[in-house]
């Protein structure tokens, strides 16, 4: 990870020169990598991959500059999520597919309204409309983690998965189905993000 300096005005010119000598000069300008698409969602991974989902369901992988590779064109695609290891998509009917060079179904859906990848691991989770939370294991198998009709969002990091209830409370999973602890009580929380 790049070093960062926030109090630049306090740095002497010699300090800045020394920093640049050690770490190089960063390109702090914006670069357009897609022009006037109908992109509806973008997902970036820690190892530098970028994917986009268009409003017509097309899924693309960014190569370089303005060059993208088309990975899928299915109007049923509702969501994509990705990690350094996997790219997954959810269809409006809840079905989940994983990209392996081709799209492989890993869940038949039925109530699945959200998938959530742990960004720096291979873990994948899904949330059902009735509040069930499942973790992907292998093949088309998923392990039940929780069920609470108040659950309205999940997010994950490499260690665990979190869920949010409609009253703003946030819970952390402890690795055993049904074993969750509250990390934030009733609040105005409207979005949780894992890193």
């Amino acid at each position: 990870m790049w070093e960062t300096w926030t109090e630049r005005d306090m740095l002497h010119a010699d300090d800045i020169a020394a920093i640049r000598d050690k770490y190089g000069i960063r390109d702090g300008s914006w670069h357009r990598i897609c022009a006037q698409s109908n992109a509806a969602q973008i997902v970036a991974t820690r190892n530098g991959h970028l994917y986009r989902r268009d409003s017509d369901g097309k899924v693309w992988q960014h190569n370089s500059l303005l060059n993208w590779s088309l990975l899928d064109q299915c109007a049923d695609t509702a969501q994509i999520d990705a990690t350094s290891y996997n790219l997954d998509q959810r269809h409006y009917n809840g079905e989940v597919f994983r990209w392996t060079g081709k799209w492989v179904s890993i869940d038949v859906g039925d109530g699945n309204v959200q998938i959530a990848s742990a960004r720096n691991s291979k873990k994948l989770y899904q949330r059902h409309k009735n509040g069930q939370v499942w973790q992907y294991t292998s093949g088309s198998s998923w392990m039940w983690l929780d069920e609470n009709s108040s659950t309205v969002e999940i997010t994950a990091n490499g260690s665990t998965v979190f869920l949010r209830h409609d009253n703003g409370a946030v819970y952390r999973y402890h690795g055993k189905p049904g074993d969750w602890s509250e990390v934030c009580g009733v609040s105005n929380t409207t979005r949780i993000v894992g890193d």
């Binding site: 990870m1 790049w2 070093e3 960062t4 300096w5 926030t6 630049r8 920093i19 640049r20 770490y23 000069i25 960063r26 390109d27 702090g28 300008s29 914006w30 670069h31 357009r32 990598i33 897609c34 022009a35 006037q36 698409s37 109908n38 992109a39 969602q41 973008i42 997902v43 970036a44 991974t45 820690r46 190892n47 530098g48 991959h49 970028l50 986009r52 960004r119 952390r172 990390v183 934030c184 979005r191 993000v193 894992g194 890193d195």
Partner: protein, 93 residues
């Protein structure tokens, strides 16, 4: 310095603004988008954010509607359909 995640039993208020629409995080960098499309980078000091839209020149694609961060880059999806990228961190020329 980049911020570090707090222990889960401790929450530090990093910002308080009804204009906040979205947050994304990656490898120690935290970004924030306002409803008006402005994009901010968290400096590591509570309540202290840098407006990347103005400090790093306005995102050229227009209003930003979604953020994504990864691979030491921040990506901005704009209302125009443009996608723009910029490197993480904050050390300009």
């Amino acid at each position: 310095m980049p911020y570090e995640l707090d222990p889960y039993d401790e929450w530090i208020k990093r910002d308080a603004n009804p204009d906040n629409a979205e947050i994304v995080a990656d490898s120690g960098n935290l970004y924030l988008r306002h409803w008006n499309g402005d994009v901010f980078w968290y400096t590591g000091t509570a309540m202290n954010w840098v407006n990347m839209s103005t400090q790093r020149k306005v995102v050229p694609g227009g209003k930003v509607v979604q953020l994504a961060a990864g691979g030491e880059r921040l990506y901005c999806l704009c209302l125009s359909g443009d996608i723009w990228q910029i490197l993480d961190g904050y050390l300009d020329d």
